[in-house]
Symmetry: C2
Subunit: 283 residues, 2 copies
Amino acid sequence: MMNPSEWFTEEAPGVASAFSLKVTKKLHEEQSPFQHLEIYETESFGNLMVIDGCTMVSTRDNFFYHEMISHPALYTHPDPKRVWIIGGGDCGTLKEVLKHPTVEKAVQIDIDERVTRLAEIYFPELCESNGDPRADLKFIDGIKWVKDAEPNSVDIILVDSTDPAGPAEGLFSEAFYRDCFNCLSENGMVVQQSESALFYMKLIGEMRGAMQAAGFPHLQTLFFPQCIYPSGWWSATIAGKQSLKQFRERDAANKPFDTNFYNVDIHKAALAQPEFFKKAFGG
Amino acid sequence: MMNPSEWFTEEAPGVASAFSLKVTKKLHEEQSPFQHLEIYETESFGNLMVIDGCTMVSTRDNFFYHEMISHPALYTHPDPKRVWIIGGGDCGTLKEVLKHPTVEKAVQIDIDERVTRLAEIYFPELCESNGDPRADLKFIDGIKWVKDAEPNSVDIILVDSTDPAGPAEGLFSEAFYRDCFNCLSENGMVVQQSESALFYMKLIGEMRGAMQAAGFPHLQTLFFPQCIYPSGWWSATIAGKQSLKQFRERDAANKPFDTNFYNVDIHKAALAQPEFFKKAFGG
């Protein structure tokens, strides 16, 4: 029987399951103006960041999420030059986005500067592109940023948020997606981390409905492993103004950067819809 | 903080991570001649079978594993008539195999009859094809069964085993795969559940090496979610005498049965090799 004091445990909201990592040291804890932040050193997953009791990022397995929330969309858009990341304060998504030579400007808008300051200390490998001249880190409200933006000011918006409770709640709403629609360029798309399809189909359905109501005619949910998140199986949903079938496969096959999970075959694989998902939302 | 007495928790061997389900009742516990067996009623996953402390099958999420250890191989083999299941005492794999009209005989060989007797009580939906005239349930040593078999006596061997410790240890060995090779028909293949690629790459590498040393020139590892198993991301590896590229896609598209996860797109998706896996084992 494990000794609870030696482990960090997260219960999946509403599902009565839990995931635990054995902790060797608590490295940091603070209440920021927005959230409760903890950093642990774990026995087998490297460092672990926890926000409001939920696992956010671990050294060992963050590559799944960061690669899959960015590369599929960036290799679907015909020419992604301007990318915004809403949330994403650990800077791992920013790092993946900046690997793309087409990108001229990547703005990360996280309301909580403390997340980034802690990532710089405890996840330096995720922050190694923060000094890229194309990178712009803003610590302001992403919802307001998108609401105030001019039309045609961005090509891809990546919503790398916490769960839809607390500060991130507004990021799953029709109003937010409508604001995204209005500031995106002609081929624009928004990517939303969309939780576990084994646990939260109702939430995914509501989110997809909100995206459609906001004007996006094309949706594509992607599936990928993510060990430290509830169920170990995660999703992201792309909402596009244009068809999402235009995979720049040749560019992805010749990507001028290294990945740990993503490649051409994994890109295509992530698009496959499980039978129960097709039955719920159509093919 | 969760109260440990209300939860079933499995620690992943050697990885210092754990998965837990909240338990509403312990339905059964016994020491069979081979293993320690427990059945729990859980709050959100239906019933849960535990063998030697490891989660084996839950009502809610067993469909991933049972569909993915069977249908990809059965739709890759050109004409699978004779199938053996080594292990698989919960009968869920047998049920999926018998959905295929090509199958004339499916023999399930599990050393521990008690697993099946408990599945009949607590997982009746997995046992609903046990009375099929094509089904043959044997409660004997699967390793000896394969060793004693005549050449050309089976088309597909599905190794639906526990982890490679305890009774299942011999199922991951070159000697066992060689015995499989010898009794398989010309297009024969063996499918081995092959653990988590995030946690156990060394084991996967040794298993693949043993399969090749036993004479199988073609290997294909498949990936799929499995929430209750360590890391939530599981694999199965097919070892074939002939090329494994011959997917009977039209038959799969017109499958005369229902599934919850598997379909043509999921079949192809499961074949995609993550970048780190390709680097370890080649494309």
